[in-house]
Amino acid sequence: MKHAISFILNQEEIQLTVDSHRTLLDVLRDDLGLTGAKQGCDTGECGACSVLLNGVVVNACMVLAPEADGAEILTVEGLADEEELHPLQRSFIDHHGVQCGYCAPGMLIAAKALLNRTSRPHEEEIREALVGNLCRCGAYPDIIKSIQVASRARR
């Protein structure tokens, strides 16, 4: 079954036709060329495909593309403001939150979801917010530090 859908992606309106059984992740990566969200496990376990769907963090591999109809979606590509990196991105660079980089887009989006609801999270809250994001390099301490510094710098 085909669905004509429209949604707001990184503040831009998108219209396209998708098959029922395709995932939001397939459409982002294959149809729209946004490869920031990664296809890691494809089972909802690793968080590498995290995006914000109507303001809350979800795994794009576990969302059907037609479910995006009418939604607002933010991917890592939409984090930066024109030329300027988002404070989280800046901080990940400055504090080595990126090692191999595979998990980074998902980590950034999960962190963004956290900062949207808690402006100054403490370490335990950051850890809880990242429980669904795996980093196979084991760079967790630097990732947590990056988020902490970014949250302090924000205001």
């Binding site: 079954m1 669905h3 098959d19 029922s20 059984h21 395709r22 995932t23 494809d42 089972t43 909802g44 376990e45 968080g47 995290s50 769907l53 809350v56 963090v57 979800v58 795994n59 576990m62 969302v63 059907l64 037609p66 479910e67 999960a110 979801a113 809880e128 917010a129 429980v131 669904g132 994001n133």
Partner: protein
């Protein structure tokens, strides 16, 4: 992935129409279980019906005399953030916060989670302690089933082919009560459960009463152990607690899994339960009468 038609539903009448067209139809809440099963080739539905868009399934209603009524399509994240849950059903709130990840909780629904009926479904533990009742609907009518009677074991439930969960109801919580949820899992996100338990009771004058013990990971379904609950009634002494623990051991049937042998799961459950019972007693006794 296997192809199917995705259909957004807006009313129970629409559910009935689709279900009447025969097999090959599956309901979808958050899709965490269903989409995986389709991807693995374990299920091949022709139609996937999204129930999240049915307005009445998104209800959340709390009333101090009536308790809490939650629609089946309410996401689990609501249980980890909702003020009425935090205030009146703290055991549910605490358990939900530990359940899976924000990504999963934002999608997973109450109805999908209960219908999944896994022996390690963490939502079941606090819901069993709070005497939750499931409201079921089919074109033939409605019926209410207490959660403890809803599970049939091995991922089966009392749900008929053409039936769905519309709501769950949690009775009003008594004033002076306390519950704890304790789990031992291999992974920090709750996956690979060895064993878990929720223990709950209330205080009435000097008595600790209405004990609830729910166990996970040690049988073919999440379950209460009423015989052990009865052994704790009143003001349990150490020998009563010991007896309750022995009764629990006699009523469980853990399985070997790759990360934990059955006998280990027994020992772990025993330790968690002992800790849980003592914590509940301590909390209730330190409340002012």
């Amino acid at each position: 992935m296997h192809t199917f038609d995705y259909i957004r539903l807006h009313s129970l009448e629409e559910v009935a129409q689709h279900l009447a067209q025969g097999p090959g139809v599956r309901l979808m809440g958050g899709g965490n279980v269903l989409l995986l099963a389709i991807r693995r080739g374990e299920e091949a539905p022709q139609k996937v019906l999204d129930v999240k868009t049915i307005p009445e399934l998104r209800d959340v209603r709390y009333h101090h005399n009536q308790g809490l009524k939650l629609g089946a399509a309410v996401p689990l994240q609501h249980l980890a953030t909702g003020l009425e849950v935090r205030r009146h059903y703290p055991l549910l709130y605490q358990t939900a916060q530990k359940l899976a990840s924000p990504q999963v909780r934002n999608r997973a629904t109450i109805g999908g989670t209960l219908a999944w009926a896994s022996p390690v479904s963490e939502l079941a533990a606090p819901m069993l302690c709070y005497d939750t009742v499931c409201y079921l609907w089919s074109p033939r009518g409605r019926r209410d089933v207490p959660l403890h009677a809803f599970y049939l074991g091995d991922f089966r439930t009392v749900l008929m082919e053409d039936e769905l969960i519309t709501h769950v109801h949690l009775p009003p919580p008594p004033q002076r009560s306390h519950g704890v949820y304790l789990r031992q899992t291999v992974r920090h996100d709750g996956r690979r459960m060895i064993a878990a338990t929720a223990v709950w009771a209330m205080r009435k004058q000097q008595n600790l009463t209405r004990w609830r013990i729910a166990v996970l990971g040690v049988d073919d379904r999440p379950k209460r152990i009423p015989e052990a609950e009865a052994a704790l009634e009143g003001n349990p002494h150490p020998e009563d607690i010991q007896r309750a623990l022995e009764i629990v051991q006699a009523h469980i049937h853990p399985q070997d899994v790759i990360y934990a042998r059955a006998d280990y799961r027994r020992v772990v459950l025993n330790a968690l339960l002992q800790q849980g019972i003592h914590q509940v007693i301590h909390q209730l006794q330190s409340m002012r009468s």
